[in-house]
Subunit: 216 residues, 2 copies
């Protein structure tokens, strides 16, 4: 399986556009937990995931983090190429959560193609609208959900991703996903443990009562 | 001044596209404080403001509100036509803050034109990226700024919009802008008053020390 099979609207491009993309997209392997893109410091290009998992997050001045969304196989990261649009005036960071194979598409090439191709411009619109939806969901969570129900939703998501009820994740990492402090997560996890919903041991969290967790 | 002078990329459209838009865009007058678009209940179309001010906000299940962004003369509201893109899966409401004159562009027409016109598709991309930037700013505010510095920023914005140090706004309205409860706003305003930064009276807030407010 090559680039043509992964790029979402490949068939809607002209043969010239297809050739340009295929020639310039470079397949890379990114190691787990190695920062792939960091704010406005670089303009990496668009990232099209062949296999793996990327975490897209923002960081406060004080170094606190929150996960904005995650990307999986066949997803494309637009905002790692923010230099291609003046109107994108915010900085994200991108970190692989597993070893990840991905194509990098140069931002200037994509920009030029988007200015010519109505298919590519409309695809980019859809991509941005999807991420906009994710971010609006996140705002609602942060504003209107309690921290314990957000933690419960996060643990369920992690469990689904891992395909296991035993999660290997530190309290610190959870805090970075959720935009809060480690102490808050530790306190909430202890509460969930006291309710018989999870069981905690060094470096792992085991979900004991999935249903009760889902109703938290 | 007519539609052609207000639609941002009018000159980049074909004469056929220009004619279609001009023919189908309808100029309306919307009264202050009368809901113009409410969530997923309708697909109003795109709103292009001739003159006035619109507030775009979301509402929680419990009826709490937060302002996402505001729109002014020549701004265009995209998400009041969310039906035109499947990927937009969130609901906003739109309310005029002053009497507002605006063109409504039918969503299905805009959608069809966007699928043909690379200029329009790219303009829509820029528009969405601008709003994405606003929303990312809001997330950072909500997550990482204290409520008193957010309130200070809001009062300064209001003062700039009104061109006055005396603001005619209720605590309830401020709470709806900021996604919090009225009691929180009242408490913070009383604190600002005790510091000699504002002066409160029925229905008005007067900014006494603008510099100190800006440093809150």
């Amino acid at each position: 399986m090559d680039f043509a099979n992964y790029f979402p609207i490949y068939k809607n491009l002209t043969s010239e556009e297809q050739a340009l993309l295929t020639k310039n997209a470079r397949l890379h392997t990114f190691e787990k937990d190695t920062l792939l893109h960091n704010g406005s410091n670089d303009c990496l290009g668009l990232v099209l995931i062949k296999s793996g998992q990327l975490r897209v997050f923002i960081t406060s001045e004080e170094g606190r983090e929150i996960t904005i969304y995650r990307l999986f196989d066949r997803d494309m990261c637009l905002f790692s190429a923010s230099c291609m649009m003046n109107s994108i005036q915010f900085d994200i960071s991108v970190m692989p959560e597993t070893d990840t194979e991905a194509w990098i598409i140069p931002a200037d090439l994509y920009k030029k193609m988007m200015e010519q191709s109505v298919a590519l411009a409309n695809y980019t619109n859809q991509l941005m609208a999807t991420k906009f939806t994710d971010v609006m969901w996140l705002i609602e969570q942060v504003l209107w959900k309690s921290m314990d129900s957000r933690l419960a939703a996060f643990l369920i998501e992690e469990s689904n991703l891992a395909g296991s009820l035993i999660l290997h994740i530190t309290h610190d990492k959870i805090a970075n996903h959720m935009g809060t402090a480690r102490e808050v997560i530790t306190r909430l996890l202890k509460y969930l443990q006291s309710e018989g919903i999870v069981s905690l041991s060094r470096g792992t969290i085991e979900i004991i009562d999935f249903e009760k967790l889902a109703n938290t």
